[in-house]
């Protein structure tokens, strides 16, 4: 068991995991089907009459109409997914469900990163402070107190056993 647990074995396990993950990530699964593309595009757009629901989720007539429009664009095969999203957005401004990465909207992307960095820095600082506090070594007097307490506890236990 000790051999199995050795550091080289762990390195082997890590390499195996990375290798398998790389294989799974990079293997070619072929292009999306037409329906797959329609679904992927409709997940990025909000239905204009459905209080924030995506075209993919909504069963409203407006969503149905836009889904059909997307299906027509996909069947025509001339535009990429991004171009189709742009076409729909031109007709229905503000329908893209993903906020932009420029202007004020970029805040929605920046703030989580700031929060993550702040959280990690805070965690680091707290651990550092605690580590410094833990570095205080116990004196001989402290050890004497603990030993006396343990001795006292053992005496009490012995008495109880009697």
């Amino acid at each position: 068991m000790k051999k199995l647990n050795s550091l080289p074995m762990w390195i082997l396990m890590l390499l195996l995991t990375v290798g398998l993950l790389a294989f799974g990530t990079l293997r070619d699964r072929g292009p999306l089907t037409q329906q797959g593309r329609i679904d992927a595009i409709s997940q990025q757009l909000a239905c204009p009459t459905c209080n924030g629901e995506s075209i993919y989720v909504s069963r409203a007539p407006a969503a149905e109409a836009i889904r059909n429009e997307i299906a027509r664009e996909v069947a025509a095969g001339q535009n990429s997914d991004d171009q189709i999203v742009a076409v729909i957005e031109r007709n229905f401004p503000g329908s893209v469900l993903l906020p932009r990465t420029d202007g004020v909207e970029s805040l929605v992307w920046i703030l989580p990163v700031v929060a993550l960095v702040g959280g990690l820095c805070g965690l680091g600082l707290v651990f550092r402070r605690w580590k410094n506090a833990a570095l205080l070594h116990a004196s001989d007097a402290d050890f004497a107190i603990v030993e006396a307490a343990l001795q006292h506890k053992n005496d009490v236990t012995d008495d109880e056993n009697i």
Binding site: L4, N5, L7, W10, M13, L16, T17, L20, L21, F23, G24, T25, R27, R29, T33, Q35, G36, D39, Q43, Q44, A46, C50, N51, G52, E53, S54, Y56, V57, S58, R59, A60, E64, G94, S95, L97, L98, P99, V104, E105, L107, V108, L111, P112, A115, L116, G119, G122, L123, V126, F127, R129, W130, K131, A133, A134, H137, A138, F143, V146, E147
Partner: protein
């Protein structure tokens, strides 16, 4: 006693309205007097005097519960007897609604939902009073009761004034549209809202004790231990309510998903995230006396977020298909939210000195270190969900334009956080308290790590791809291995008792969470769909299955017209996706039909327009892997929470509680 005229009005308008209003008024009085009695009891007890008012607290709690039950009964009576003298019944009742949905119509809209909240809160208040009936003179308990009565009084007031379901409607109305069509085609409407509300309301109990601890200055671990099971109960109910909501969405909405990051869904998820962080970090305080301010803050944030969520979904400020209609209660809720936050922060600042924790964490590679890291991740997750939910309001305020922050944003940010949480779940259960050596880690993580690699290999063999999904499967296997290791060790040591208690029940909950995470990753990443134009008795193939339209079934009643397409799958059982048009509402509601198996679900929806006369139907077929495991995972989370509520093995005081700390000097030398 009553004049003939009064009786005539009561008979003509129905008794429910006056009775309901009277019950709400009694509830307000009972909860206000309950709060006063509790505060007086607490003050007297601090002076070490026996307060006679302590005996009044249970009476006020019972009266408030009675009032809440009477108000709810009156509302149900009005709905069931179709008392169209009430505006609420005019708006949400109907003569043609079936009995079950008529019963649930009471909480299908804003005013009724607040009434349900009142009932759940009055019930919680009464249960807490009963539990501590012999300790009501204890200032901590008395202050906790005062807080609960104040919150109850607020909700009674909301229900009595701005969200009164007993308001009188226009004269001469004899029928109404009934509840929202989506709320009248699945039995889960009977369970999902009440359970979710019990979860929300349940967090009032630990919140009340936290405030009481701050007021009385008893900020040690006593109040935590008192509220441990209440918190777990509230968390369990909220979890179960959210899972039932996902199931409902899957069975009813027809887009084959369980979670759409809708603001109302997010409103329930936010307190769940902070509540989950709390039930982990509270262990550090119980064991090591640390993180007092952090735990208090998490608890106060959890309760505040339930109020904020209620504001966001009931004030009309956010667009959501789930949201209740616009109303006046928003301003009251936001003021209440502000008061809660201000009072909580002031109390924490006031007790700042006594909240300083005496201990310190010896090493980041320890159980408490892992809990802290997990808390950072949960807090970040909650921040992302809150930011995404309220960001459209920010843009509207700054630039006077409307945007929608939807599923793609939440998916992109929640996926890495979820994967990091799975990684924590893989490692944390094997970590000892205080400090872990490299050797211990290598030994304890060995088999769980192989579980992860094995799961990855199997996933690749069955054709999985994509980094996020593969990482989820790998870490899911790893985390399952770590949880199972703990359960195996515990049951070997203690037999069946190794399954109960917080730590071991928690591991069952972990396995449930892992199943849900894996099922979500699989169903989101590998769903395939196809729209099939089916003609009568002409088979069509998709995804290795044969679908054949066998006919149509039409249903026409006063309430609705429905058409079902009968589709035979693989020459076997037939399924019947439907489209229903509710007469009073006018819109089409799709009802999916699902063939479930442990590997994948076949999810069929009927797409409009339906040409039943020409024998044609457009059926959309979704093939969704592993969906059933989501419900099994939800069930395991519920079972795990129940197991965690039972007391585990008591640790003897002489048992070692943690790994030895290297102080540079052997203690037994």
């Amino acid at each position: 006693m009553f004049s003939a005229e009064t009786l005539d009005v009561a008979v003509n308008q129905g008794l429910a309205g006056p009775l309901g209003r009277a019950a709400l008024l009694v509830g307000i009085i009972a909860s206000v007097f309950g709060a006063v009695a509790s505060i007086y009891t607490a003050r007297e007890s601090l002076r070490e005097e026996e307060a006679r008012t302590a005996r009044l607290i249970p009476r006020f709690a019972a009266l408030a519960l009675l009032a809440a039950v009477a108000a709810m009964t009156a509302m149900e009576y009005a709905m069931i007897t179709r008392d169209f003298s009430l505006k609420y019944v005019q708006d949400h009742g109907s003569r043609s609604t079936p009995a079950l949905y008529n019963f649930t119509a009471v909480w299908s809209a804003l005013e009724g939902s607040i009434l349900l909240w009142v009932l759940a809160l009055a019930l919680s208040c009464a249960v807490v009073v009963w539990r501590y009936r012999k300790k009501l003179s204890d200032p901590l308990i008395a202050w906790a009761m005062a807080v609960m009565f104040i919150v109850l009084a607020f909700f009674f007031l909301l229900s009595f004034a701005p969200a009164n379901p007993f308001g009188v409607g226009a004269a001469g109305v004899t029928d109404g549209p009934g509840p929202n069509p989506l709320l009248q085609n699945h039995i889960l409407v009977l369970f999902h809202p009440p359970i979710l509300y019990l979860g929300y309301v349940g967090f009032t109990i630990p919140f009340a004790f936290a405030i009481a601890a701050l007021v009385t200055g008893r900020v040690g671990e006593g109040w935590l231990i008192e509220t441990r099971r209440w918190t777990l109960c509230a968390w369990g109910l909220l979890t179960f309510g959210i899972i039932l909501g996902g199931w409902w969405s899957y069975e009813v909405l027809g887009w084959s998903g369980v979670w759409a990051w809708d603001p109302v869904e997010n409103a329930s998820f936010l307190p769940w995230l902070t509540g989950t962080a709390y039930i982990h970090s509270v262990l550090v305080q119980e064991r090591r006396g640390m993180l007092r301010v952090w735990n208090l803050s998490l608890l106060l944030a959890t309760f505040s977020l339930t109020i904020l969520g209620t504001f966001l979904t009931r004030s009309g400020v956010l667009n959501s298909v789930h949201a209740f209609s616009e109303s006046d209660i928003g301003k009251y809720l936001i003021i209440f939210f502000g008061v809660i936050v201000a009072v909580s922060l002031w109390l924490i600042a006031w007790r700042g000195d006594s909240l300083r924790s005496p201990g310190s964490i010896d090493s980041p590679i320890s159980r408490e270190g892992a809990f802290l890291a997990n808390n950072v991740l949960f807090a970040l997750f909650a921040f992302v969900v809150l930011l995404g939910t309220v960001f459209p309001l920010v843009i509207e305020a700054l630039q006077n334009r409307q945007i929608v922050v939807g599923e793609p944003f939440f998916d992109q940010l929640s996926t890495p956080i979820g994967i990091a949480l799975l990684a924590m779940m893989s490692i944390a259960p094997v970590l000892p308290w205080r400090k872990a050596s490299e050797e211990v880690l290598r030994q304890r993580l060995f088999w769980p790590a192989w579980c992860g690699i094995g799961t990855l290999a199997v996933s690749l063999l069955v054709g999985a791809d994509g980094l996020a999904a593969l990482l989820t499967f790998t870490l899911g296997g790893f985390a399952s291995g770590a949880a199972l290791r703990q359960l195996v060790l515990a049951t070997r040591r203690q037999g069946w008792r190794g399954l109960v208690g917080r730590a071991n029940g928690g591991m069952v909950v972990h396995i449930g969470v892992i199943l849900i995470a894996v099922a979500l990753a699989a169903s989101n990443s590998y769903t395939r769909s196809q729209e099939l134009s089916l003609k009568l008795n002409t088979p069509a193939e998709f995804g290795g299955h044969v679908f054949e339209l066998k006919g149509f079934e039409n249903e026409k009643t006063d309430r609705l017209t429905a058409v079902k397409a009968i589709v035979q799958v693989d020459g076997g059982k037939s399924y019947a996706p439907a489209i229903t048009k509710f007469v009073q509402m006018g819109n089409n509601i799709g009802t999916p039909s699902v063939k479930s198996s442990w590997r994948y679900d076949l999810y069929l929806t009927l797409e409009p327009p339906v040409k039943s006369e020409s024998g044609e139907a457009r059926i959309k077929v979704f093939i969704k892997p592993l969906v059933m495991w989501m419900w099994i995972g939800g069930g395991m989370m519920a079972v795990g929470t129940l197991l965690a509520l039972f007391p585990g093995r008591r640790r003897r005081p002489t048992d070692a509680v943690s790994a030895r700390v290297d102080t540079g000097k052997a203690i037994d030398a």
